[in-house]
């Protein structure tokens, strides 16, 4: 059976991991390649690298980093952040990224999704959607939740599927950073509306939250950062616990 995926997310700025990372025996927790290799050996199913560099030099560093990750890591990884053109994607895929994720650029120019899917195949096009619940309506936000759009989460999700997205990475701004669990209601609804895999993001705090996101949220994968980086949740223990609860995972 196809298993549920556990995905650590690494925020990268100018080629280094940011957010304090307190990770086991790593000598240099700021080195994304070392961290990625570590995650691959302890059972992460996939990795996401989010480039939060704001400069052209930072982006170039990211492209070089992708090459190093591809060289040393034997599980799939997605690269996102600041991707706005076919050219941006081309270099990342050529350097060995398995998937890329687009967010703001897809909202500004939805045809980008279609262009990428036609050129590289839907399987490598992830559309990241950040949304916030306001008065019972889920609204899509850009730029880390600072810019409100007019898009409804569910309408936008259906549209990106039609445009050729192969996967949706949904982050609930209401849940992100709270460690109080994922947005399972919205996730479950998304899964009934689209027929492509959904990665849930935002809110992971305990092992129970992962059980809930797969059971109640029907997510195909769950992404988290700090609970893994700070060793609050051990991936092997997490997967064992999911398995004990009859949720299919790779162990």
């Amino acid at each position: 059976m196809l298993t549920k995926r556990i995905i650590p997310c690494l925020d990268i700025k100018n080629g280094r991991t940011v957010k304090g990372i307190n990770f086991m025996d790593l000598r240099d927790a700021g080195d994304p390649v070392a961290l990625a290799k570590k995650y691959a050996t302890i059972g992460a199913d996939e990795l996401v690298f989010l480039d939060i560099s704001a400069t052209r030099e930072g982006r170039k560093t990211m492209q070089d980093l992708v090459l190093k990750v591809a060289e040393q890591v034997n599980i799939p990884f997605t690269v996102g952040g600041g991707i706005s053109s076919v050219e941006d994607v081309d270099i990342l895929l050529k350097n060995g990224a398995d998937k890329i994720s687009v967010n703001s650029s897809a909202v500004k120019r939805p045809e980008l999704i279609n262009e990428l899917a036609n050129r590289y195949g839907s399987q490598c096009v992830v559309v990241a959607i950040d949304a916030k619940k306001n008065n019972d309506e889920w609204i899509v936000y850009l730029a880390g939740g600072t810019i409100r759009t007019k898009l409804n989460l569910f309408d936008w999700a259906k549209e990106v599927e039609q445009l050729g997205a192969g996967e949706i990475l949904f982050t609930s701004m209401n849940n992100d950073g709270t460690k109080k669990g994922f947005a399972n209601g919205a996730l479950a609804k998304l899964s009934t509306l689209v027929n492509i895999p959904i990665i849930a993001s935002g809110g992971a705090g305990t092992v129970q939250h992962f059980t809930d996101v797969f059971r109640r949220g029907n997510a195909d994968a769950a992404l988290a950062a700090s609970v893994f980086h700070f060793g609050e949740i051990d991936i092997i223990d997490l997967k064992q616990e999911l398995k004990n609860k009859n949720i299919e995972v790779r162990l």
């Binding site: 298993t3 799939p76 590289y120 490598c124 192969g166 790779r250």
Partner: protein, 193 residues
Amino acid sequence: MNVVIINYGAGNIKSIQFAFKRLGVDAILSNNPEKIESADKIIFPGVGEASSAMKMLKNSGLDILIPKLKLPVLGICLGMQLMCLETEEGNTEGLGIFNTKVKRFSTSSKVPQMGWNTIYNLKSELFKNVNEYEFMYLVHSYYAENCQECISTTNYQLEYASALQKNNFYGVQFHPEKSSQAGEQILKNFLEL
């Protein structure tokens, strides 16, 4: 060992090259028929869409060359699918090496299948030291129907052929280059054939 990865413009082949590098082998990328024919081992990759990939093969005459190769050939993902009779993707005629057809998954569950699934009924030296029900990483919307040449089975909506073999030709639907240590073992086995 002279390993050639057939480079006909299809998708991300860097990962395959790096996977061999981790095994200590410098695989070269080429679409030159002489280099391909003189290789010890040949990798036929493919990511993307079937009909356009087939067009690229035809443009370089590789559609004639590949079925005539005598040394071990490993098709990966779309590469494997193109080695079959035909595929529903773009109604494309394949190279006809494997006697099976490639169909699209139904909408009864999510498409593409994306993630880790198990392989079982393993029947080839390609799987030496690989356990039954080992996990492999797969990303695909089309699958090869079960057939005589099936050497590993996977279940998603139905049981299908996740690996095929006929004489010196091998094909795997999963991505050994992205499937952790077990995937590396399969690539190592291929090098030892």
